[in-house]
C-alpha cells in the first residue's frame, strides 16, 4: 500500500514550509450594523443637555476601514470648555458633593448595567469609529469598560476602608482627556473612579473616535445622572489645551502620547491641579529558552497585534534568547500567516484598520526607518483592502538596541525582534529605554520570574501571559510612561485628598 519509509535525514528547517492558504476558507461573517444608531450630528453634552457649540464648528468622524463619514461632531472652543467646567463646578458644589456615598454608588452601578445592556450597539460603534475588530470590542473593550464601572461603584461608599488611618475628601472638578485606541474603555477608566470618589467630570474623547463617548453621554442622560456631573465635550488638541489650562479644574487625568504629556506637565506646573499621566511605552517582551514556546508565540502575537498594535503597553520590543531565536521566529512567521486582516465588523477578523491616516503615516515612516537601518523586514502575505487605512502584520528581524525602531514607540502592528544571551544582559537591555509602562517574561522557572519582576523598571510585568487587564489591578508607568495609577485601590488615590487621622489614644 505505502512505499517503504526510508531513513529520514535531517533537513534544514528553512526548506520546509506549511501552507495556510487552504482550500477550505471562512465565508464573510459580518456583524449587522442595523442594531447601532449613530446620529448624523452630535452636539456637546453639557449640564445634562445636548448643547450647540459656541464655536459653531463641526468636524467629521470617519470609519477608518472605508473612509466613509459616520457623523459630524461639535468642536468645543474655550467658551464651550468654560461652560462645561462651570456646569461641573455647579453640580459638584450644589449636589454631587453632598450626596450620600451610597447614592453615588447606585448611579455608577446603573451606568454599568446599562452599558452591559447596550453592549452590542457599543461594540459595533467602537469598531466602526476606531477600526478595531468586533471580536475585540465585543469580548474586551465593552465588557471591560462595564467592569470598571461595576468595580468603582463598589468603592463609592467604602472609601473610609480603602485607606485605613486616613480621611478622604473629593477634589472637585476633574478634566479628563483620553486617547483613540480604547475610546470607551478609557472613558470608563477615567469617569468611574472620579465619580466614585465624589468628583464631577469634564471628559474630552479623541477627535478620531468620539462616538462611543457620546453614546455614553446618551446613556448617562438615560440613567438620570444629575445634570453637570458628567460633561462630554469634543474637539482636538486646542479643546484639550483649553481644558488643561482652565483655572477652575482641580485635577487633570490624561492618557495619550508622551509628547502631549510633557506639554500638559508644563501647563499644570505651578498650579494646584493634581495630575496623572499615562503615556507611551516600548515594552520588552522577553522569551527565555526554557519558556513554553508555543504559548509564548501567542503572547508575542497578542502583545503586538492586539488592537493593531495601538496599545501603549504593547510588547513592541521582543527579546528572544539566542538558542531558541530561530525556532521562535519560524513559529511567528507561520502564526502571522493565519492572522485575518480586514473588515473590522467581520467576526473572524483578527486585525482591523489603522485608526487614522495620520497614524498610518507614522507607522509607514517607522517601517521605512527600519529598512533604512538595515533590519530585515518580514510581512504577512495577506491582501489589504483598497480603501481605508491598513497595515500588514510586520516583523523586523536582526534589530539592534540602537535602532530607532527598537527605541521609539511606533504604535502599530510592527514588532522589533532582538536577541540576548544572559538574564543580566536582557534586564539591562529591557530597562534601557526612557519608557517603563509594561513588560513580559516567558520562562518555565518560577525563581527567574521573581528575579526579573524585581529588576524590571516597568509598571506592569506579565509572566507567561501578556496584555491581561482587570479593574482590580493598578496600571501605570515609570519614567516617561507617566505617573499615577489607574485601576484597583490605587486608582482611587489620584481623585482624593488624603489627610491623616490622629486616633484618640495617641493624643496627649
Amino acid at each position: 500500500m505505502k512505499k517503504k519509509q526510508k531513513n529520514i535525514l535531517p533537513r534544514k528547517s528553512n526548506t520546509l514550509k506549511l501552507s495556510f492558504d487552504t482550500s477550505w476558507t471562512y465565508a464573510p461573517a459580518p456583524e449587522s450594523r442595523t442594531s447601532a444608531t449613530i446620529q448624523p450630528r452630535y452636539d456637546l453634552f453639557i449640564n445634562g443637555k445636548w448643547t450647540k457649540p459656541e464655536s459653531g464648528k463641526y468636524f467629521e468622524t470617519i470609519n477608518p476601514a472605508n473612509e466613509e463619514t459616520l457623523s459630524e461632531i461639535a468642536e468645543a472652543n474655550a467658551a464651550d470648555v468654560n461652560k462645561a467646567v462651570a456646569a461641573a463646578r455647579n453640580a459638584y458644589e450644589k449636589y454631587w458633593k453632598k450626596l450620600p456615598a451610597k447614592e453615588r454608588g447606585k448611579y455608577i452601578f446603573r451606568i454599568a448595567r446599562m452599558m452591559q445592556e447596550k453592549s452590542r450597539e457599543l461594540a459595533i460603534i467602537e469598531s466602526l469609529d476606531g477600526g478595531k475588530p468586533i471580536r475585540e470590542s465585543r469580548d474586551f473593550d465593552i465588557p471591560e469598560a462595564a467592569n470598571h464601572f461595576f468595580y468603582y461603584a463598589g468603592w463609592a461608599d467604602k472609601l473610609d476602608y480603602a485607606f485605613p488611618g486616613k480621611k478622604t475628601a473629593s477634589l472637585g472638578v476633574a478634566g479628563q482627556i483620553i486617547p483613540w485606541n480604547f475610546p470607551l474603555l478609557m472613558a470608563a477608566w477615567k469617569i468611574a473612579p472620579a465619580l466614585a470618589t465624589g468628583n464631577t467630570v469634564v471628559l474630552k474623547p479623541a477627535e478620531t473616535t468620539p462616538l462611543t463617548a457620546l453614546k455614553l453621554a446618551e446613556l448617562i442622560q438615560e440613567a438620570d445622572l444629575p445634570p453637570g456631573v458628567v460633561n462630554i465635550i469634543t474637539g482636538a488638541g486646542e479643546t484639550g489645551a483649553a481644558l488643561v489650562q482652565h483655572p477652575d479644574i482641580n485635577k487633570i487625568a490624561f492618557t495619550g502620547s508622551t509628547e502631549v504629556g510633557k506639554m500638559i506637565l508644563r501647563a499644570v506646573a505651578g498650579t494646584n491641579k493634581k495630575l496623572t499621566l499615562e503615556l507611551g511605552g516600548k515594552a520588552a517582551n522577553i522569551i527565555f529558552e526554557d519558556a513554553p514556546l508555543d504559548q509564548a508565540v501567542e503572547g508575542i502575537i497578542n502583545g503586538i497585534f492586539f488592537n493593531q498594535g495601538h496599545v501603549c503597553c504593547a510588547g513592541s520590543r521582543l527579546y528572544i534568547q539566542e538558542s531558541v531565536a530561530n525556532t521562535v521566529i519560524r513559529k511567528l512567521k507561520d502564526r502571522i500567516e493565519t492572522l485575518i486582516v480586514g473588515d473590522p465588523l467581520d467576526k473572524n477578523t483578527d486585525i482591523g484598520a489603522i485608526n487614522s491616516k495620520k497614524q498610518l503615516e507614522t507607522i509607514h515612516y517607522y517601517i521605512k526607518t527600519g529598512i533604512q537601518e538595515g533590519a530585515e523586514i518580514y510581512e504577512s502575505s495577506c491582501r489589504l483592502p483598497s480603501k481605508g487605512f491598513w497595515c500588514k502584520p510586520t516583523l523586523f528581524l536582526n534589530v539592534a538596541q540602537s535602532s530607532r525602531i527598537a527605541q521609539e514607540e511606533i504604535f502599530g502592528p510592527v514588532l522589533a525582534i532582538l536577541t540576548f544571551r544572559t538574564d543580566d544582559e536582557v534586564i539591562e537591555k529591557a530597562n534601557n529605554t526612557p519608557y517603563g509602562l509594561s513588560a513580559g517574561v516567558w520562562t518555565d522557572k518560577g525563581s527567574r520570574i521573581f528575579n526579573m519582576t524585581r529588576k524590571m523598571r516597568a509598571g506592569v510585568v506579565w509572566a507567561n501571559t501578556y496584555n491581561k487587564f482587570d479593574p482590580t489591578s493598578p496600571f501605570g508607568g515609570y519614567k516617561e510612561s507617566g505617573f499615577g495609577r489607574e485601576g484597583g485601590l490605587h486608582g482611587l488615590m489620584p481623585y482624593l485628598h488624603l489627610s491623616n487621622l490622629i486616633p484618640n489614644s495617641t493624643r496627649k
Binding site: 500500500m1 471562512y26 508555543d294 501571559t465
Partner: protein, 303 residues
C-alpha cells in the same frame, strides 16, 4: 524509522503552559463558520470520520450494519462523501474488510490489548499481526501508560517501534490516552516519543476514559506534529477520538487544523475523527443547510 542520531532526549520535550494553551484553544472556537464554509467544512468532517464500534457486545451483524452505514451515510442526500474508515476489534476485521470491499473505505483495527494495554509485548505483537493478516489497513495501538508514568520512556518507545514493525504496510495510529496522562507536559512528551518511534498518526484517546479528546489537548498534539515536521520533514497524522459528537465541535477542530498545520493536513489522509455519534449530527446539519429545515432524528439511521 527515524535516523537514530535524530532521536532527542524526551525528558527535554518542550514544556507547555496549560493556561496559555487553553486560551489559544478557546480562540479557535471564536471563528464564525457560516454558509458555504459550513457545508464544505461539514462534508470534510464526514470524510474524516473513523466510524467506530468497540464494544464487548460487538457481533458480525453489528459490524456489517456499521459498514453499510459507512458507505451509505444518508442516501436521501445525494453527493455526500463516505467516512474515512471503520474502526473495529481485530476479530471483526475480516467481516468489515469484506463488507467494505471496493468502497475505498479503510478498515482500522485496535490492537495491543486495547484499551488498557496491560499485556506482555509478545501478546501485543501477535494481536497486531493478526489484525494486519486479517486485512486491517490501519492499526490503532495503545501505549503503556503505566510504564510511561514510571518514566520508562525507552520501554514505551521500543514497544511502539516494535508494533510499527509488526504493522508492515498498515498505518499505525498511536493512542496516548491523554485522559490518563493528564498533564500537558506529559501529553507533549508522549506525542514526541510516539512520533520518533514511528507513529503514522497520534491519537488522543480510546474513548473509554474521561476526559477523551479536548481542543486544548489536540492543540498540544498538533503543535508537536508541526515541530516534528520541521525537524524531520515527515508528516504525522492526528486523530482526536471520543467525546466529539456535535458538528459545531468538529468544525472547531477543523479550524484548529487549518490554522496550526494548514492545507497539508486538511484531508483524511492526515486528520481523522474517532467518533460514533458525530456522523448523524453532521448529517442533520448538512440536511438543514441544504433544505433550510431541521429534520427529526428519526430520519437518520442510528448505526
Amino acid at each position: 524509522m527515524i535516523n537514530s542520531n535524530l532521536i532527542p532526549d524526551f525528558t527535554l520535550s518542550p514544556r507547555i503552559d496549560q493556561t496559555g494553551a487553553e486560551e489559544r484553544a478557546l480562540r479557535f472556537t471564536r471563528r464564525s463558520i457560516k454558509k458555504e464554509s459550513k457545508i464544505n467544512g461539514l462534508k470534510l468532517v464526514l470524510n474524516m470520520i473513523d466510524l467506530t464500534t468497540l464494544e464487548g457486545k460487538d457481533t458480525e451483524g453489528k459490524v456489517k450494519q456499521l459498514c453499510y452505514k459507512a458507505m451509505h451515510l444518508h442516501d436521501a442526500l445525494p453527493g455526500l462523501p463516505t467516512v474515512a474508515a471503520v474502526c473495529v476489534y481485530p476479530l471483526f476485521v475480516k467481516t468489515a474488510k469484506k463488507a467494505l470491499e471496493g468502497s475505498g473505505i479503510k478498515v482500522a483495527s485496535v490492537a495491543t490489548a486495547f484499551p488498557g494495554g496491560q499485556a506482555p509485548r509478545d501478546v501485543k505483537i501477535r494481536e497486531t499481526k493478526f489484525a494486519v493478516n486479517e486485512g486491517a489497513d490501519e492499526v490503532d495501538m495503545v501505549i503503556s501508560r503505566g510504564r510511561f508514568h514510571a518514566g520508562e520512556y525507552n520501554y514505551v518507545f521500543d514497544e511502539i517501534a516494535a508494533v510499527k514493525e509488526a504493522c508492515g504496510p498498515a498505518r499505525l495510529k498511536v493512542i496516548l490516552e491523554t485522559g490518563e496522562l493528564v498533564s500537558f507536559d506529559k501529553i507533549r512528551r508522549a506525542s514526541d516519543i510516539a512520533m520518533y518511534a514511528g507513529a503514522d498518526f497520534i491519537k488522543t484517546s480510546t474513548g473509554k476514559i474521561q476526559p477523551a479528546a479536548t481542543l486544548p489537548v489536540t492543540l498540544i498534539m498538533l503543535e508537536a506534529i508541526r515541530d516534528f515536521y520541521y525537524k524531520t520533514g515527515k508528516k504525522v497524522g492526528m486523530k482526536p477520538a471520543g467525546g466529539i459528537s456535535k458538528s459545531k465541535t468538529a468544525l472547531h477542530y477543523l479550524v484548529m487544523v487549518k490554522e496550526v498545520l494548514g492545507e497539508g493536513w486538511l484531508t483524511n489522509e492526515w486528520f481523522r475523527f474517532g467518533a460514533s455519534s458525530l456522523a448523524n449530527d453532521v448529517l442533520m446539519q448538512i440536511a438543514k443547510e441544504t433544505t433550510g429545515i431541521y429534520q427529526a432524528a428519526n430520519y437518520f439511521s442510528i448505526d
